[in-house]
Amino acid sequence: MSTKEQRERIELLQGTLDLLILRTLVRGPVHGHAIAKAIEFNSDEVLQVEQGSLYPALHRLIKRGWISVEEGASENNRRAKFYKLTAKGRRQLAVETSKWDKLAGAIARILRPAEQEGES
């Protein structure tokens, strides 16, 4: 990874990591390292996630009951922890997603008023 690439990366907004984790878990139980990889990959490696920050976020979500943990074997057959979306977490994901859409839309309207007027 070159320094130029690093400069183009964007730091994550406060609180959005939780949303991304929930979204990543929709496909099924995933272990910690794989969550970090998935977020990185799915954002075309634009989002700069310090992988360590994943862990406080995971524990926060467990505490709120949005995800649960289970032990299992990883791809290469080693014992690993899998994080799994709970029913409560699935509902929360819907709420958070619509919140995010509203926020993103509102900010876009402020930043590009001309385009919005042209559209409407």
Partner: protein, 301 residues
């Protein structure tokens, strides 16, 4: 709670495995194992901070549960006010009694006496308890003059005195002390001098008095020229020769004596306590010792 503990205990392992997985990925991308490890560490960020932040997530849970417990306890108590009141007053009484007892014990027994070398001061008691706790004045004299163990030996007794001031007599507490009393304590006067061996050379050797710092402050308006002035105590005139230092709180705080007089002359008055130098004596003996090991040398009787 146990789930939280388990999660946190496994955190180290989780983080280790995470970094290991990232390292393997980096090796697969063609890095040398060493570079791969450092790259993984860099990408993970500060491990210690991550662990701290993760732990902090759960602290609030612990706190919330504690709060819930407290609320539940209060609710239960309020539903049963009779029991609550009994429990609370029992606790209150018990705690209060303990505080008082300990407070008194602390002030009178546990606190070391307030002098430069308390570890070198010993108390001596008669070995033969049948004769009582007290020494006669001639015995005190004998020990003071003849012992070769202690550098100074003194006796004191706390008594109440009538202090004449502004045309009225009021009761105050004071010490009657033998000549080496202040030598035993090893304190220096705040003003003037303290009582010395010469003040007790023989009964009635001097009419000197030493006052405590609090008494100097309150009874004598912190008079800087106090030394040499006279007071009337028990119908006799004494000359104030000195003031004890502020830091020196008297040993028997219970009475808080404010005067120290030389061993009493008490010529004619048999009235007050029936003083008889041949029989009665003193509360306790104090010894300043240079040889701590032999401090408990029994008294010759």
């Amino acid at each position: 709670m146990s789930r939280r503990k388990q999660l946190l205990e496994n955190l180290d392992q989780d983080i280790r495995e995470h970094i290991e997985a990232e390292t393997q990925d980096n090796i697969a991308r063609g890095m040398s194992p060493e570079d791969a490890h450092y790259a993984a560490m860099r990408k993970f960020g500060n491990v210690i901070r991550v662990k701290e932040e993760t732990r902090e997530v759960w602290i609030s849970v612990w706190f919330e549960q504690l709060l819930q417990d407290v609320r539940f306890a209060l609710r239960t108590l309020s539903k049963n006010p009779g029991f609550a009141l009994t429990a609370i007053s029992t606790l209150a009484l018990g705690i209060a009694a303990n505080v008082i007892v300990f407070g008194v014990l602390q002030a009178l027994v546990l606190r070391p006496i307030d002098i430069p070398h308390p570890e070198r001061v010993m108390t001596l008691e008669p070995t033969n308890k049948d004769r009582g706790m007290f020494f006669a004045y001639p015995e005190v004299r004998d020990v003071s003059d003849m012992n070769s163990v202690f550098s100074a030996v003194a006796a004191d007794t706390v008594r109440s005195f009538g202090l004449e001031a502004h045309g009225a007599t009021r009761q105050v507490w004071g010490y009657e002390v033998s000549g080496q009393y202040f030598e035993v304590l090893g304190i220096r006067p705040f003003l003037g001098r303290l009582l010395e061996r010469a003040d007790d050379a023989h009964p009635g050797a001097s009419k000197a008095a030493v006052i405590s710092w609090p008494a100097w402050k309150s009874l004598f308006n912190a008079d800087a020229d106090i030394v040499g002035k006279t007071v009337r105590v028990n119908k006799q005139t004494y000359t104030i020769v000195g003031v004890t230092p502020e830091a020196f709180t008297e040993r028997k705080n219970f009475f808080s004596p404010i005067f120290s007089f030389p061993w009493p002359t008490r010529p004619s008055s048999k009235a007050s306590t029936g003083w008889n130098p041949e029989k009665t004596a003193t509360c306790s003996l104090s010894f300043a010792s240079k040889m701590a090991l032999q401090s408990r040398k029994p008294m010759p009787t």
